[in-house]
Amino acid sequence: MEQLEKKFALTVPSSTENLALIREFVGNIAQQSGMDAADAGKLELAVDEACANVIEHAYGNDTTKEVIIRAKLDDETLSINVEDTGRGFDPDSVKQDELNELVNKRKTGGLGMRLMKTLMDEVRYEIEPGKKNELHMVKHLKKGK
């Protein structure tokens, strides 16, 4: 009812050790949004994938770097931004193989971006390598919660 826009931010060292904290952060905000546990779980997974990519790919596991997760919540939308200052990439040039191709090639990865796109309503990158790379994700909230 009285809901203004609520803003949250979390900054952590770029280490996979902090993925659990990131999920707790997102899970708590998801709960505040009125989402059910299943939807909250999807959101946690999408943000985990986004942050794991930053830690591994943007920063190459350099734990002296920082990952910033921002969340904005209003009545209709929960939007999440993941920011890094790492090497960046061209998201459009990433080839998304099918699962059976990945398995045939004995790949261990290549599923993260597909998960994010399936789980979120909007996924958009703004890349400025070495300056600021931003991943913007949006989940529309169900009306009449």
Binding site: A52, E56, V103, R106, L111, L115
Partner: protein, 125 residues
């Protein structure tokens, strides 16, 4: 605190049962990977991964299943996935794992499936 991650391997004759507990994410997936590697090195290829106590899995954990399945099947074995809760099932479903992997209710039925020649989905062998 969510329950912490652990991975334990039990061997029972022909079968190796790997029990996952807690969250498998990019931080803990390497320990899961080690456990599967160890079992394969020990010459076992009838592998059951018990997910009854798994509370969370991200693509880093799913990648471990992907990495070894071909190798294991080439040797006439399989990796069966059992005990998945509704909550944890989601990423497997989104990515279409049912077309390639054999999901079973529990450890016993997973073991029984190894004798069922028609049990491997996707015909990936």
């Amino acid at each position: 605190m969510p329950n912490p991650f652990s991975v334990e391997t039990e061997t029972d004759g022909d079968f190796a049962v790997i029990k996952l507990e807690g969250a498998v994410d990019a931080h803990t997936a390497p320990k899961f990977e080690e456990a599967v590697e160890k079992v394969i090195e020990d010459g076992q290829n009838k592998i059951v991964v018990d997910c009854e106590k798994l509370s969370y899995i991200s693509s880093a954990g799913l990648g471990v299943f992907m990495c070894f399945i071909e190798e294991v099947r080439e040797e006439g074995g399989d990796i069966k996935i059992c005990g998945l809760t509704e909550k944890v099932k989601q990423p497997f479903e989104i990515l279409g794992f049912e077309s390639i992997y054999d999901f079973c209710a529990d450890i016993e039925s997973a073991k029984a499936r190894f004798n069922d020649v028609n049990a491997v989905p996707g015909g990936a062998v």
